[in-house]
């Protein structure tokens, strides 16, 4: 957005603006062009907002809708599974965000130090790859690698090197409460680290080479240069990435949905998967209750977006978008 300057005539009078109606008329073509966008936004985003009223209704696939006041919210706040899902959402998304950002920063610093251009380009091509695989495919790959059956690579290797009993059953990683979260983070590192480096590498390529030359003259070692020039240059970008993604914390769904199972709900269930199961995995769903949980999720999510937007304005002078 550009700041509009008030135009003045030579005698110091403000230039009279064209009347609003004329200006609207001049832009008529643009309003027409916006109509298709508006129709889709109204249908896909605004119409469902009207459905929020069901949070105060009993609404089942069969039978009438009846007004029940705050009943669903009371049930929700009294349900242990809801609180588990809420805590898991925060813990899984924030940990994932911190871990993948850290690995992306480390990877981009190493990439930046690589002088062999061919090696650098090849590694970039390789580490971007997993980003283009769907979560369904990634879940398929890792559930085979981690499987406790005779074809699971990880269990097989653990048996070969003697960590696990070769005659034993092996670890069912994705169905183990102790292992599910670490595995989830590792899979996220595998999938998103490479993609995360793009933005950091863009920042690093903008560092003034004179800074490194000055450091050379001061006799700085490679590590000292990384620590005192490269990393500080990344600080702003790291903060930006963290803020932008913090706004999306409540949205976690597909990555969990394809990897979790009933054995590990305690450590893996997030709000969206909880809503999904309350609606599509029960015999007679109450849309009212699911809507209430969804409304809670939307409100927390919206609050986070607004907070992050303010943080973003403060730290880098412009909003999230």
């Amino acid at each position: 957005m550009k700041q509009k300057k008030q135009l003045m005539t030579s005698s110091g009078q403000p230039v009279r603006k064209t009347p609003l109606a004329t200006r609207v008329w001049n832009y008529r073509g643009y309003y027409l062009m916006f109509i298709p966008v508006a129709i889709f936004v109204l249908l896909i985003y605004y119409w469902p907002m009207l459905g929020i009223r069901y949070a105060w209704f009993d609404y089942k696939p069969v039978g009438p809708k009846t007004f029940v006041g705050w009943k669903h919210f009371e049930t929700m706040f009294a349900t242990a599974a809801f609180w588990t899902a809420f805590k898991n959402t925060l813990q899984l998304s924030i940990m994932k965000l911190l871990i993948t950002t850290l690995t992306a920063v480390v990877a981009s610093v190493f990439l930046n130090e690589m002088n062999n251009l061919l090696a650098k380009k090849s590694l970039q091509t390789i580490i971007y790859l997993p980003h283009f695989m769907s979560w369904a495919v990634v879940a398929g790959i890792f559930s085979m690698l981690l499987s406790p059956t005779s074809t699971g690579m990880v269990n097989g290797i653990l048996k070969d090197i003697g960590i696990l009993d070769p005659a034993g059953n092996g670890i069912y990683f994705l169905a183990s409460k102790a292992w599910w979260r670490p595995i989830f983070y590792i899979i996220n590192i595998w999938k998103e680290t490479g993609w995360g480096t793009i933005i950091f590498l863009a920042t690093l390529s903008g560092i003034n080479p004179e800074l490194y030359e000055a450091a050379d003259i001061d006799g700085a070692s490679r590590m000292q240069k990384i620590w005192n020039v490269t990393v500080p240059a990344l600080t702003n970008t790291i903060i930006t990435v963290l803020i932008l993604n913090l706004a999306k914390v409540m949205n976690m769904f597909e990555s969990v949905f394809v990897l979790y199972n009933s054995a590990v709900y305690d450590v893996s269930d997030v709000i969206s998967t909880y809503i999904y199961r309350q609606t599509f995995a029960v015999a007679l769903p109450n849309y009212g209750y699911s809507t209430a949980v969804g409304l809670f999720k939307s409100l927390v999510g919206g609050f986070l977006v607004i907070v992050c937007n303010q943080l973003s304005k403060k730290t880098r002078g412009r909003g999230i978008v």
Partner: protein
């Protein structure tokens, strides 16, 4: 002095070795799972060991996939929804982005708020489901096109890109009496080819890879997409009956390769557009 220089050289050497080692480790960490899937898809017997090359090569996994009729319809659905959805997505986000880029247009801020508000607040999964039901999009593959066709984030990326086009070009066209639509397709679109490619790719990847939408909205087998069908095959034991005597592991791995193949083949050629897409909006400081 001479000793110092020698020491420094030695140090650089050690760092480079460490750097190469880290490089190889990161590369292996990413590549081993992918390579294992590819090798196992050609391997007649499933083994846990990591092999560089299949020790009992076979094409039966792929033959089974090709001859499984239940996979045809989902594959066609995926291709159609990806193409149409990408086209719709590009049309809507270029139109919207172009209108929002008109800084002096009366009501522009109102329209921007109208779009951005949807990023702050949403009706949620269930009200959305109920609306789609009224639009007859439940159990209908076109849900993928409608749902992904409008993407405010990409629209804003497009707007940011358009704002970077020199204003003088527009003014010259306006003086020549071009209508907004004509300016749009005679000047703006030809200048935006790279941005269109980047954002089009983002749409295509999202739609092709979508599994959740299908899982929520679709129940009929003939309306599902390829990702959904393959995932069902691999994780939920919906194995196709086959005339080939192929091991399950071989078949699963071949399925995964089939699901990622289109983008893996195109990816090396399109990498620069993907990367550009990230940087259009993000590094505008």
């Amino acid at each position: 002095m001479a000793k110092n220089v020698y020491k420094k050289k030695n140090k650089i050497h050690v760092f480079d070795v460490v750097n190469y080692l880290v490089f190889i480790l990161i590369g292996l960490f990413i590549l081993v799972p992918i390579w294992k899937v590819v090798v196992d898809s050609f391997n007649a017997v499933g083994v846990y060991q990591f092999q560089l090359w299949p020790n009992r090569p076979t094409l039966d996994g792929y033959k089974t996939i090709i001859h499984t009729k239940q996979l045809y319809q989902p594959f066609i659905n995926s291709v159609i929804t990806t193409l149409v959805g990408t086209l719709l997505g590009l049309i809507l986000c270029t139109l919207g982005g172009y209108v929002l880029a008109q800084a002096d247009m009366p009501g522009r801020n109102g329209l921007a708020f109208f779009l951005l508000f949807t990023m702050v607040f949403s009706g949620g999964m269930i009200p959305e489901y109920l609306v789609m039901k009224q639009l007859h999009l439940v159990d209908n593959m076109w849900i993928l096109v409608v749902k992904h066709g409008i993407n405010i984030y990409n629209l804003v990326l497009m707007k940011n890109f358009f704002e970077g086009i020199p204003e003088s070009l527009f003014e010259a066209a306006k003086i020549d009496g071009c209508s907004p639509m004509k300016i749009f397709y005679k000047i703006v679109l030809p200048l935006s080819k790279a941005a269109l490619a980047s954002i089009g790719l983002m749409f295509a990847v999202t739609i092709w890879n979508d599994y959740t939408t299908v899982k929520i909205y679709i129940t009929s087998p003939d309306q599902t997409n390829f990702q959904y069908k393959l995932r069902n095959m691999i994780m939920d034991g919906d194995t196709p009956t086959t005339s080939y005597n192929v091991s399950q592991t071989t078949l699963f791995n071949a399925g995964i390769v089939a699901a990622i193949l289109p983008f893996m083949v195109a990816y090396p050629f399109l990498q620069k557009y993907f990367v550009k897409g990230v940087n259009i909006g993000a590094v505008k400081e």
